[in-house]
Amino acid sequence: MGIQIGIFSVGDVTADPTTGRTPSEHQRIKDTVAIAKKAEEVGLDVFATGEHHNPPFIASNPTATLAYIGAQTSTLLLSTATTLITTTDPVLIAEDYAKIQHLTDGRVDLMLGRGNTGPVYPWFGKDIRQGINLAIENYALLRRLWREDVVDWEGRFRTPLQGYTSTPRPLDGVAPFVWHGSIRSPEIAEQAAYYGDGYFHNHIFWPASHAAQMVRLYRDRFAHYGHGTPEQAIVGLGGQIFMRRNSQDAINEFRPYFDNAPVYGHGPSLEDFSAQTPLTVGSPQQVLERTLSFRDYAGDYQRQLFLVDHAGLPLKTVLEQLDLLGEILPAMRAGFAEGRPADVPDAPTHASQLAALTSNSQVSNDNKESKEVTI
């Protein structure tokens, strides 16, 4: 299938700066579902939700959101951006995502991150100074809970487990695929590379050079740990876009949202920020060209997620953005396929991981048989 293309949402409740209207939490939660369903309708592959536990966000409890969306979609791959591996008990993550695997017939993977909200650590009884260490220990446990039926475990950050079995077991014995998201922590790229997992750079709000540096490190270390060539590493990138058929209309309409946006608002101009970061505001053709140019510094990659619903943009506008994205989707897929070497893999899915597992056990069975013959 080539590259996976989708959207990711942080779930912010922000006043529309052009009308002053702030959606209710209820409205924003329902809008998020409508946006995800629309994503499938226009042909996108992935919807990923963020995780926040404080106002002005509605992105707590991502697993309920994903399961609810999963029940109303049929092809959409459900993911996270990101799941807080630092403050969420890995025992809970193992259960929750295995359950969604079963409910959605394997249409789920997840992206682990440390989040960007310091105060969230004490809310869940954790120490922010241990951020990296929590990410490392918790994930090491999560992997075992999905891969071993009975786990004895002892670590630093939670009570020991003795003879513990996480339920339900992952669908078909295949753990959900895991991405690791980090903007500027080389340790996390190292972690993704070590396990041969995916690495995702959010690639919005920051200069492309940051993403390029992290992706380069991840690819080199992926090869160092023997998972394949650097070009075969599993890379995902974010992106931020706003489109109208006429590029000047896009700029005029988006500017008040940009100028008042929670993250970068009241800072650089829309024009400067567009030059400094991957933000692209313009015609669908401009978005298409800029997006395809990400390969120049990230190499051929596996997943592209766009941020389209934030900064107070009304639902109607977001849905229009998805229609426009749907229109350029075939050209975007064709562009990404162009010149893509055959040995660059697709992002693992449940089906591909299951196929790999089956063919591996086939091979080992074959080996067993041939041994028996020799004997």
Partner: protein, 223 residues
């Protein structure tokens, strides 16, 4: 960076004057020139680069909001990071360094000044502010783990009109601070001799192997 000659010293002068002409820049020029002479007198090559903060004011405000430096600001931060010695000069605003001056050091990556020789200097309209060197600048650079030269240079407006032959004239004080900085820059107490903290850049250059990270997560911090 590249392969610098061992005794080719890079000195960066950071000055936060706002007017043109500015007495802060004037003092920065004096300190830069005196340091250049003092290092050259030790038989070493020296290159002095000036970083004026006024043209970087917008980029500094943007950096506070976006978290990353752009254009000339990125170059200026890089120059300071890779300098062998730094001279910092601020005008006194409300009995302290100016906000613009502080912002530059707020956005400098932690660890960038670890063990780095720094000479501090300030200007003001009146000599009654002279203690700003010791109650504001010296603590700031101590916090940043810089090695601060013993002599700081404070110049009130009237100092620029003084004759240069007096024992405590501005030029004498500038020369003393410059020779102290030169000794720190070319001496063994230079930045490379001091174990610096690991920065993001050092992690990119030589990533900590994951087995090590796993051990550290488990509480074993021995490297």
């Amino acid at each position: 960076m590249g392969f610098d000659k061992l005794n080719h010293r890079k000195v960066v002068v950071v000055s936060a004057g706002l007017s043109v002409p500015s007495s802060t820049r004037l003092l920065a020029d004096k300190l830069g020139a005196a340091t250049e002479r003092a290092i050259a007198a030790r038989g070493e090559e020296v290159e002095v680069r000036h970083v004026e903060l006024r043209p970087l004011a917008h980029a500094l405000a943007d950096h506070l909001l976006t978290g990353f430096p752009t254009g000339d600001l990125a170059g200026a931060l890089d120059a300071v990071r890779h300098a062998d010695g730094v001279i910092v000069v601020t005008p006194v605003f409300s009995a302290s360094y100016s906000g613009l001056f502080k912002t530059f050091f707020d956005v400098l990556e932690p660890g960038a000044l670890d063990g780095k020789p720094v000479a501090i200097a300030a200007t003001a309209g009146t000599a009654r502010h002279s203690l700003v060197l010791d109650h504001a600048l010296r603590p700031l650079f101590a916090y940043l783990h810089a090695v601060v030269a013993p002599t700081g240079v404070f110049a009130a407006s009237e100092d620029f009109g003084e004759s240069s032959d007096g024992e405590s004239s501005l030029d004498k004080r500038v020369d003393r601070a410059a020779s102290e900085l030169a000794a720190l820059v070319s001496g063994t107490a230079g930045a490379t001799q001091v174990p610096a903290r690991r920065t993001v850049d050092s992690e990119f250059a030589a990533p900590t192997p994951f087995e090590q990270l796993l051990r550290e997560a488990g509480g074993n911090t021995a490297r």
